[in-house]
Symmetry: C2
Subunit: 324 residues, 2 copies
């Protein structure tokens, strides 16, 4: 069993040893740029940890690890274009550094490259493994569509929001774990527990991200706070606040979330004030804790030696910013 740190080092090596530049260079330079920027590399680590947990060899899944991370970066590349996000990991996004067509076509090619990596290694259950990957990919696209739909809808329910983040964020974490377990020929029932562990960690992680965007310390969070509010993102916090608000607070929230002032500080302050009055932070922190607890229960339920679960336990705690 490799520790979290060892798996991260392994993933780093895999990416350093893989060439990403081919001809035509106009197509592959943005791909190399995207895949070399780093990021937390959570998904390949999950995939490897899911494999090792059931006695699999991580050398067997290094191409799948490359594949899942390449797919993830493809979705970020296209999402940044669709959301018109200028910065990713502290650097200009591809559509800004190059142009929109480059972002479209390099993204498409990255999706195909992800498949190239997945197809490099054989496995008796390859068709099942590829199905897991592909159904995950379709779900991620559906999640992004729901997210875009929500921008123009004023009647989004909390249940719909949870379904959106399940698709957009959680299933890729869960899918990575499942693929790792499939490579290690894990039993179906254990795979299901591991998948559900991934789903609930993913939900907790996204809700925590919503919290940090509103209440986080810029120095710790590493990015600007209040951006969800200034971007009028209908996060769990906003939807929960609407649910708890009196008529006047609801009117204020809805009016503010229909404006995009050049200087959003006053708006952010007002919204955060309402969140505070309604104790939204505590409410959402409780949901994060609940999801985290469900996740750990699922991990507990898997029939392997508890020491095989150590890396995933560590990863779950690290993801949620908890000391282990």
């Amino acid at each position: 069993m490799n520790s979290l740190k060892e798996l991260l080092e392994k993933v780093k090596q895999i990416f350093e040893n893989e060439p990403f530049i081919f001809e035509p260079r106009e197509l592959y330079t943005p791909i190399d740029y995207t895949l070399s920027l780093g990021g937390k590399r959570i998904r390949p680590v999950l995939l490897m940890a899911g494999c090792e947990m059931f006695g699999g060899d991580i050398n067997q899944v290094k191409d799948a690890a490359l594949g899942i991370e390449t797919f993830h970066n493809f979705t970020l590349l296209h999402d940044d274009l669709m959301d018109k996000s200028p910065i990713r990991r502290g650097q200009p996004t591809v559509y800004r550094k190059w142009n929109e067509n480059t972002a479209i076509l390099s993204g498409d090619t990255m999706f195909a490259l992800a498949w190239r990596y997945f197809l490099r290694q054989s496995h008796p259950a390859l068709q099942d493994i590829l199905n897991t990957f592909n159904e995950t990919a379709i779900g991620v696209c559906e999640g992004q569509q729901y997210d875009m739909n929500f921008e123009t809808r004023n009647d989004v329910s909390i249940a719909e929001y949870m379904e959106m983040i399940r698709l957009k964020t959680a299933i890729l974490l869960a899918g990575a774990l499942k693929i790792g377990a499939q490579y290690a020929n894990a039993p179906e029932s254990d795979i299901q527990h591991l998948y559900d562990f991934g789903i609930h960690i993913g939900l907790a992680f996204q809700l925590q991200d919503d919290l940090l965007d509103a209440f986080g310390d810029v120095k710790v969070f590493g990015k600007q706070t209040g951006t969800d509010i200034s971007d009028n993102k209908k996060t769990y916090l906003y939807l929960k606040a609407l649910e708890l608000a009196d008529e006047q607070q609801r009117d204020t929230l809805q009016q503010l979330f229909a404006t995009t002032p050049a200087n959003p500080e006053e708006k952010i302050r007002t919204v955060l004030g309402i969140y505070q009055d309604l104790d939204v932070r505590n409410t959402v922190e409780n949901i994060v804790n609940e999801e985290f607890a469900i996740a750990l229960n699922e991990l507990d339920a898997i029939h392997v030696d508890p020491k095989n679960k150590a890396t995933l336990n560590e990863l779950a705690n690290t993801l949620l910013g908890r000391k282990v």
Copy 2:
């Protein structure tokens, strides 16, 4: 052995029986729109014909046929967005009828749907088959990038143009044939001949399309002529004309291909006049005939009963607008 007409009917039925609308409808309605507009359905027919030729059963490849056509339509959808083409098959393109983000995300989803279809059926050589599909997909992306590069380059050679259309057009026809043959467990050497048949038919088809755009009868061609000239497309005709031109003709061509007049009729007339003076039409018609002859030689070289080649022979002639 099914005739061309029978295979086309079969493909039509497959598309009619497959549901394309799921939730969220905003994502799947443009996909249904794209896949229901029809088109010539050449690639799924090639895939089925490639399979039947070696004694395979077309029911074994109906999902692969769906997959290859879905992939092709995905590339058209994204190409139309990148090229800002307003019309496809007489109807508004997806980015025009909806918007750019819809075109990006519905396209991405179509690529994943193509994989869903390919993954629905098992085969002992599935990994090889999927590799053929995926390497073809990567090549098509590379071809599109070269095509975009050529827009801003003034030193494109004829060899580079041929490589671009090989990637952008020919390899998908060849790949469809190869996949069909792989399902039927055809021998490697025959698969290579079949693939090369597809490559040369594809090259002939694209060069013929260049010719028709310049010299075709609008009523027969079914679309406006002269668009490559008004769009400053560096087709084989243009590159060959540059090669044959004297200094004055070259200057005129290069100057005209650096302008986009609101009313391009005068420009089209001048360019066609130069093509005529240089006998470019005849020169390119000869290349089409050569590529067609090479293709038929490759078909001849395949070790199956000649009557198993009848459908592909018919399809090749039909594609090139020749009476059989």
